[in-house]
Symmetry: C3
Subunit: 294 residues, 3 copies
């Protein structure tokens, strides 16, 4: 039920269809906008469970390339009858995903902003609307768009490290989470927690995130894989068809809302992000990040 997007390109070039760990090199000239080295995908055909492991150093930021690869990978799994569930996790220490790549939103053309935003929408439409069981194994910090990925799954397990934080902190950057980020958040934590957290741009430590219901469970790092597998098995014990119809019933209203307002949402993003004041605060934020690293 996901509407046609910009992303079903290069699909036929992907070689990892039936769980090959190392896709052969792609003819890059034919696939400019795409790289397949930002996410490692493994499918265990015996259990029907795939793992998507983000490995885009240094912080798994959601660039256009990353989003494109994410969507193609997810679509491949969605269409693969051997795959019933996906675990989403990170191969980068301490970071699940840092969220939308700010460089994609700074000093670029209107066309680029449109393409980028459409890819962000596409990612969410496919993940939130996925027919597969989706479990986020949040093994590091997960601000903004990284949090959205976790929120869009069916279940969230987070490593109990209090240094890891998660939240929709857009307001801290002077920007505003779009309505469908908000809708997804409200569906998980309720209106009041969302209202306060979004206005403050809060990043919640793992224990606090658990208390608020933003994540379902905390585990020690060394138990994450075992626990994630157990949760996935519990969800896969249900008949697919009934589970999928139930999931769709719960999420349809919110998915339909973006589908109905997709172009408008892109125009809103472009006009907001093109403002000089916003560009300035994003540049300041990026400089702050660079200094932090240095």
């Amino acid at each position: 039920s996901v509407p046609p997007g910009v992303l079903p390109l290069c699909r036929q070039l992907l070689a990892w269809g039936r769980a090959p760990r190392q896709p052969p090199g792609l003819p890059l000239a034919q696939c400019r906008a795409f790289s397949n080295n930002k996410i490692m995908v493994e499918l265990d055909e015996s259990s029907g469970v795939a793992t998507m492991k983000f490995k885009s150093h240094p912080v798994n930021s959601l660039s256009l390339d990353f989003l494109t690869e994410f969507c193609i990978s997810l679509e491949k799994l969605e269409n693969n009858r051997a795959c019933r569930g996906v675990i989403i996790t990170s191969a980068v220490p301490k970071i699940f995903s840092s969220g939308l790549d700010i460089t994609e939103m700074c000093g670029k053309s209107t066309e680029h902003y449109a393409e980028f935003w459409r890819a962000v929408q596409e990612m969410w439409l496919r993940l939130y609307g996925s027919n597969m069981v989706t479990v986020a194994a949040v093994n590091g910090s997960s601000p903004a768009g990284g949090c959205l990925i976790a929120l869009s799954c069916d279940y969230r397990i987070m490593v109990e490290n209090p240094k890891f934080s998660i939240g929709l902190n857009e307001a801290q950057l002077g920007i505003v989470a779009p309505f469908w980020f908000k809708d997804t958040f409200v569906n998980v934590v309720g209106h009041r927690v969302a209202e306060r957290s979004l206005q403050l741009g809060s990043l919640h430590s793992a224990p606090e995130a658990h208390r608020l219901g933003l994540v379902d469970e905390l585990v020690p790092d060394e138990k994450l894989q075992e626990k994630t597998g157990a949760v996935m098995a519990q969800w896969l014990a249900l008949p697919d068809h009934a589970r999928q119809l139930t999931k769709s019933m719960m999420r349809k209203a919110v998915l339909d809302r973006l589908v109905a307002h997709r172009e408008e949402d892109i125009q809103n993003f472009i006009s907001f992000i093109s403002k000089e004041s916003i560009q300035k605060s994003l540049r300041l934020y990026m400089e702050m990040l660079k200094k932090k690293k240095g």
Copy 2:
């Protein structure tokens, strides 16, 4: 405001109008689709409180007969000015109600499915929209449609026995709770708990149900009656008119949604239940239940 249903039949035959415990035998030929021995109704005119006690052995399953009797009984009380509140409970040990009677959904005609589903809708419209104070005294397990009855009351007290469970477990049977079961559930436990519980088809033990807000209170078995009476008295202390308008304000959106889509919902039920795959999984489930008993 409940729309005209199929059920105002045989009403005039009912003899228990003013709290007779033992209705006289009915001329069965005149009342084929109806029996009045599945629910015991007592009205205490001094307090204005009626008790509807399910006594349809072995498991108080919601057959067409049961639903018809339930609706007629409720309508009688609704129209009786001496009655301001209803306590719903079970006379069958360990079971509140096992939910919709699967035999009504297996190997029957399209007409039968339509009649049955309309009776299920009618039951919910009357109970969720009742002007009376409704308290569920859940003294046994209460899966699926049994859980819906409890969710549709104003207040839920459950016996704290951890062996008693409650939940909308339709997904376990390979079927899907209809949208108005879901709406009722979301209104009680919120979107997130409902999404997870419905997808997993969870049956929650009494303590867990209390933690999730699915029931309001747990009591030891021997305190159930006393506590139920005290809660009812608390609710009846409010002026009826203000309380009824407030209740209607809270529930109207969800009630109106079924009223607006009632025929469509019946057609959906028929086409879903008529599928060979669904019929097969219901037959398997019934065989499993029979073996369990054996």
Copy 3:
């Protein structure tokens, strides 16, 4: 975005524009419907934080005069670029606000009811939709309309005195909270808590209100000012523009609903309040209050 109201009158007469503690006497003949001695407003320009302190003895009831002064004060602050946040609290011991002034609803003309109700709506539209950060420092009991004021702020801190209570207790008086009171309440505490609390007309003690999420935090009386200032500083640390857009995104649906049905809501109020049965129960309630005092 607040629609034009009845209240932008006498505005030019107000002398406290830039934080004067003692507004000069007003030529009363020119400003019949208005008094500016019910709320003390102070603006600290260094922090950008104003305090609105209710000082309308004996119980800060929301009379037409009080509401008018409240709206004018709020509008002044809203339009003052030096003001970014407002703390709402009481100068009357043990009472935050007792809610709508019942004398305005008893034995008056239809025109008076209309004017009064429009002022109640206006107060809520301005406060719930305020661009400023609004923090309620609830230092006393806060039933009905007093609770609504607290619910409409961004954050609620209550003195932990268990004798102080808060809630939408309209049902206790035989009247019904309007739909936008209900919407505001549901946005804070969720559907289930609201449904139960509104039907029972519950007044929750401070600890219970905190447990239900009706207030965000409890503090000892002597810490209230310090804590309120700290919370305000936390909210003001966010860039105004992003915070305001986020707040509007969260509250717009509910605000729009009243704007769309404003005249209808006034007519409903008039026809409800004009009923002899309602007038009678309000008179009884007022007599009870008088006896209590005596």
